[in-house]
């Protein structure tokens, strides 16, 4: 036995296999027939052998020969024999052969007599691929007899557990149905079931079969329409969709209601096709494509669909600056044709295209004007029907083009006449206004022509025409129309008087509208150089004196303040933009009744009913408005007004600063951060931005939020820790600064970050309840400005708004923001994500663009400052590659971040102090040379305190945290010594 196997294998080694045969045939190109006949002899020998493997090999080769056109039907019996073997490979090749080699008659007999049991045996084989092969083979030679005999077997297979088999069985059933239609009725329910088969392959096979069947006899399949409708709206498989749409094509003639239902999903599909069109147009095929689309526009029944086509046509034509249009006359004609559409909403779009083309393509004007004149002449067609008023917008363009380029008009008189028809008065006001104005332009042109021909009477008649017709417009309800009409009417009357005196006026009338209109790119203004000697920053009038703004302050505490010498600030476009956005946000919050603004009731214990006059509005002259929170709703108007004034003031201020900057700014900017400490000392006044920032930080300076941290929060909340204070003092001594320690701290900050991590951190205060606004910059990569805000509704939450600005030339995407949680502060992540997951920033950044994202942090304790480390990962997309980048940053939450400026009256304050519930600590600061009121102002501004009372060089101050802690602060100057600060904390 074993020997036999070995022998068989060795035999096979010397046999030609299929590959050899193919190779051999290719090598015997000249005597192919001869070679093949020897091969066939060999195959005959092989088929006589016992070894089924050898036979199979022979059959394999026969397959190939058969394909080349040789008759192999003599081997049919052997082929079936091999097919009946249990080995998969052999069957595969046989199933191929059966199709091709054996003619139909032979196969029927053979299969019926010999192989039917074999095939059915295969059909129930446990191996899905065996069954599969049997089915595939069967698919090619289904005869009516075979179909009848196998129908029930195949039907059973339609419910096979393997989708692979189900799929094939479903498809074969189609062939069976065709050959043996009686089988359809019993099989149909099962087939219908397959439409909802969980396997998409089986589903699509079923759709296929039913669609094909339905095409032959649609009536019987109407009941399936809802099912197919569902499939059509839910399926994403285009193959299936095409079949279903074909099926509906057959069904709709039988059921008209279906058509209506189909409109929506079908238009969706069509839109996708239209989008494709957009991408495939070229100069060559544009006209052809648009022509086809215009045909569809004519045929389209639904207005929506037609409008969609219309916009697509215009989109396609106007894309990339009319790149694909080679003939603008054609385009104008298309636009004019489009105006004939009934009931379109896109008159405006067409009008703007007409204007755009006529203005920008000079060569087309003659043609355009002629077309527009015709349009005006037939204006009544467009306005005739009230429903069509969308399209009358094109008359706007037509009138304007005819007026502006009237020199190209063939018969301006006729157009003028058309524009002054009484019917025009039924047009919308803005169109009438254009009509009136352009009638005047036309009038000028007409006069010129008529005066040239010495026909002075004609000219006078023209004037008379205007005088007769214009009063209609003078009576218009539309102000614009009325105003223009009466103005022009008087002008014409005057002209007529001159004409009667035989004065030539055409020249002068034309001069009214002289000058050519040129298209200007949106950014063209930037290219205009500033003329020599023009100083855009110079004051035209003397700037209003500072004292004026001081006057506005109601009984300010710091009345003795001298006018400030503020340091220059850089302004750039985005400064205003940022400020405006923030302002808008605040405004929205303030106006939102659901936004809790007032302090919690605990406050009330120490407070009388707050009234406007009680509110200790601390007016500090800062460039950023300092809003007062906690006012009742009724005071909002006041607040708005206040803000308005402050805004004005700050604007004035900004201008002033800009001016100053011109003198000092430039040189200093070059200084790097840390060295600048020397600079700071002398001119370090109340506001902001005084420190010199390295280049990278300028954006922030300009942002208007950026104000140095006057005092680090540890100061105010220092309940304990003497050593800490000592440490701070030490630091101070080390630096031998004559400044307040806070500056120290601040600079220290700077120093560290700028140099170690190429980033800077700045804290500043903005308006109202907000908070230090530290800022980080990644030079030339990405800028981050962030702002920490206490969440007023929830004392344990802080909202950090981060503004990302892309400073690279590349596209940034897939940004992920992640912060390492500390025990105290945690980034709020969506439920179910782990504490190490980053939060996706919900936008991408094209170069130069900035956007804001907000992140919520939950904070447990607010009595200690926080520093959180985080990373931002993002993908930089350059032209040829994209790289993954990472940036580390730190977020600083200072204690004063959580404070809210809250007014307090002296009696309530006294009660609070007497209550004995406050803990206290004190701190002495040396080297403060700043005037006392400046100091107070800074504390108020940057740390959200309000002054309760001030007596000479002492002041008591109050603030409240988001969690309702009372913070009382007493500031004292000890003779010539620096102020002495003590703080109390409840």
């Amino acid at each position: 036995m074993a020997l036999k196997i070995v022998k068989g294998s060795i035999d096979r080694m010397f046999d030609k296999n299929l590959q050899d045969l193919v190779r051999g045939i290719r090598n015997h190109k000249e005597d192919e027939a001869k070679y093949i006949s020897t091969c066939i002899d060999e195959i005959k020998q092989e088929l006589k052998q016992d070894n089924i493997a050898v036979k199979a090999n022979a059959v394999c080769k026969l397959t190939y020969l058969q394909m080349l056109g040789y008759d192999v039907s003599w081997a049919a019996f052997n082929i079936v024999e091999v097919m009946s073997s249990s080995k998969f490979t052999y069957k595969v090749s046989c199933s191929q052969l059966q199709l091709q080699s054996v003619d139909a008659v032979l196969i029927t007999t053979i299969i019926n007599s010999v192989s039917l049991p074999l095939v059915t045996q295969d059909l129930s084989s446990p191996n899905q691929y065996d069954t599969g092969v049997a089915l595939t083979g069967l698919s090619c030679f289904v005869t009516p007899d075979l179909a009848r005999d196998l129908a029930s077997d195949i039907m059973t297979l339609m419910s096979h557990t393997k989708p692979y088999i189900r799929k094939k069985a479903v498809l074969i059933m189609y062939k069976v149905f065709l050959k043996y239609p009686e089988s359809l009725r019993p099989a149909f329910p099962r087939l219908k079931e397959k439409l909802e088969d969980p396997d998409p392959g089986v589903q699509s096979a079923a759709v296929n079969v039913i669609c094909e069947l339905a095409r032959r006899n649609p009536k019987n399949y109407l009941s399936l329409a809802p099912l197919f409708f569902k499939l059509m709206t839910s399926s994403t498989n285009n193959w299936v969709l095409i079949k279903i749409i074909k099926l509906f094509g057959a069904l709709t003639p039988l059921e008209p209601r279906l058509g209506k239902k189909l409109i929506e999903p079908l238009t969706n599909l069509i839109h996708r096709a239209l989008d494709l069109l957009y991408g495939m147009v070229s100069k060559k095929n544009l006209m052809e494509i648009v022509k086809k689309l215009m045909l569809h526009v004519d045929k389209a029944e639904g207005t929506t669909y037609r409008d969609e086509l219309l916009t697509k046509i215009i989109d396609i034509c106007s894309q990339s600056n009319y790149q694909y249009i080679t003939n603008f006359e054609w385009y104008i004609s298309i636009l004019v044709e489009l105006t004939r559409l009934e009931g379109t909403r896109h008159g405006h779009l067409i009008a703007s295209q007409m204007l755009d083309v006529a203005i920008r393509v000079k060569a087309i004007r003659v043609f355009a004007v002629a077309q527009m004149a015709t349009l005006l002449d037939n204006g009544h067609l467009l306005t005739g029907n009230m429903q069509r008023n969308g399209i009358c917008e094109v008359l706007y363009a037509a009138a304007w083009i005819c007026g502006e380029f009237s020199e190209h008009l063939e018969d301006p008189m006729q157009t003028l006449e058309a524009m002054l028809r009484p019917k025009v008065a039924t047009l919308p006001g803005h169109i009438q206004a254009v009509y009136v104005q352009n009638a005047a332009k036309l009038f000028a042109t007409v006069l010129r022509k008529q005066e040239g021909t010495t026909d002075s009477l004609a000219a006078q008649e023209t004037s008379q025409l205007l005088i007769d017709r214009l009063p209609l417009f003078v009576q218009s309800a539309n102000l614009e129309v009325q105003e223009r009409a009466s103005c022009i009417l008087q002008l014409v009357k005057y002209i007529q008087k001159l004409q009667q005196k035989e004065v030539e006026v055409a020249e002068e009338v034309t001069a009214l509208f002289a000058g050519e209109l040129n298209p200007v790119a949106p950014k063209a203004q930037k290219k205009v150089p500033v003329p020599d000697g023009l100083d855009l920053d110079a004051w035209i009038n003397e700037p209003p004196s500072e004292s004026e703004s001081e006057d506005e302050k109601p009984k300010a505490i710091f009345t003795k303040e001298e006018p400030k010498h503020t340091r220059p600030r850089h302004t750039e476009v985005d400064e205003k933009e940022l400020a405006r956005r923030r302002e808008a946000r605040k405004q929205e919050q303030a106006n939102n009744p659901f936004y809790i603004k007032t302090s919690p009731s605990s406050q009330k214990v120490y407070q009388d009913q707050p009234g406007v006059e009680h509110i200790p509005v601390v007016q500090i002259d800062l460039s950023v408005p300092l809003k007062v929170p906690g006012m009742p709703m009724s005071d909002q108007y006041l607040k708005l007004e206040e803000e308005r004034r402050q805004k004005e003031r700050s604007e004035r201020k900004k201008k002033e600063k800009k001016k100053k900057r011109e003198k000092h700014g430039r040189g200093r900017r070059a200084d790097s951060g840390p060295e600048s400490e020397e600079d700071i000392t002398p001119a370090h006044h109340v506001d902001i931005v005084t420190e010199e920032m390295p280049e990278v930080c300028w954006v922030l300076l300009q942002s208007g939020y950026f104000i140095p941290q006057v005092m680090s929060a540890q100061f105010l909340f220092q309940k304990s820790t003497k050593h800490k204070k000592k440490k701070q003092k030490k630091e101070k001594e080390e630096k031998e600064k004559k400044k307040k320690k806070k500056h120290h701290h601040h600079h220290h900050h700077h120093h560290h970050h700028l140099h170690s991590a190429d980033e800077s951190v700045q804290n500043g205060t903005v308006e109202e309840e907000e908070e230090p606004l530290p800022v980080r910059t990644w030079p030339s990569l990405l800028t981050h400005v962030y702002d920490v805000q206490g969440n007023l509704q929830d004392g344990s939450q802080v909202v950090v708004s981060v503004i990302f600005e892309n400073k690279t030339d590349h596209f940034l995407k897939s940004m992920e923001f992640n912060v390492l949680d500390s025990l105290n502060s945690k980034l709020q992540r969506p439920e179910g994500s782990s504490p190490h997951d980053g939060l996706a920033v919900p936008f991408q950044l094209p170069p130069g663009v900035s956007n804001e994202a907000r992140f919520v942090f939950s904070v447990q304790s607010i009595v200690m400052p926080q520093k959180l480390k985080g990373t931002l990962t993002f993908i930089v997309k350059t032209e040829d590659a994209s790289t993954h980048e990472k940036l580390d940053f730190k977020l600083h939450f200072t204690c004063t971040s959580y404070l809210i400026t809250t007014p307090c009256y002296s009696d309530a304050y006294a009660k609070l102090l007497e209550s004995g519930e406050l803990k206290s600590s004190s701190l002495k600061l040396e080297g403060v040379i700043m005037p006392f009121h400046h100091l107070l102002a800074r504390i108020c501004f940057h740390h959200h305190f309000s002054v309760v009372e001030r007596i000479d060089s002492c002041a008591s101050m109050y603030s409240r945290s988001i969690q309702g802690h009372h913070v009382c602060l007493l500031v004292k100057t000890v003779s010539t010594r620096p102020p002495y600060i003590s703080s109390l904390l409840l």
Partner: protein
């Protein structure tokens, strides 16, 4: 679909699949006629033509013509899509397929076609599933070959 033919630029038939029972003689006649007609067409001419009462959809990929005959109501574009999908399948299976691949492994080409089309209708629209089925079958075949039958 009635049948699919693959032939080279020289007019050599590389693969044929008939979904309707026809006699060999008839098949040969059709093949000869179609090969001639299609090869005579210029490259810029339309890929669809009417032939007898059928429509012929063909597309040339390198030196090979893929040619399908469909019925009157069938859609030509989807047939073109089917041809392309089949080429994609071949390409994926053989790895940048060429004519020689189909010559020497024509049974594989048939097998792929059988997994993709059945009885002239698209059977499986997912490329992944088709290739999975073929891989499985290949595996099965290898097992068979390594254990020759007695």
């Amino acid at each position: 679909m009635q049948f699919m033919l693959l032939f080279s630029r020289q007019g050599k038939l590389r693969l044929q699949k008939w979904y309707v029972p026809l006699s060999d003689k008839e098949k040969k006649k059709i093949t000869r006629e179609l090969v001639q007609t299609v090869l005579a067409r210029k490259p810029k001419m339309c890929s669809f033509l009417e032939w007898r009462d059928l429509k012929i959809v063909y597309k040339r990929y390198a030196s090979l013509y893929f040619c399908c005959a469909i019925e009157d109501q069938d859609n030509e574009l989807i047939t073109l899509e089917i041809i392309h999908r089949y080429v994609e399948l071949l390409d994926k299976y053989f790895g940048s397929v060429c004519e020689l691949d189909i010559i020497f492994n024509f049974e594989k080409a048939y097998f792929i076609l059988d997994e993709f089309l059945l009885g002239g209708e698209a059977q499986e629209t997912s490329k992944k599933n088709v290739l999975k089925a073929i891989e499985q079958a290949d595996l099965l075949q290898e097992v068979c070959c390594s254990l020759p039958s007695s």
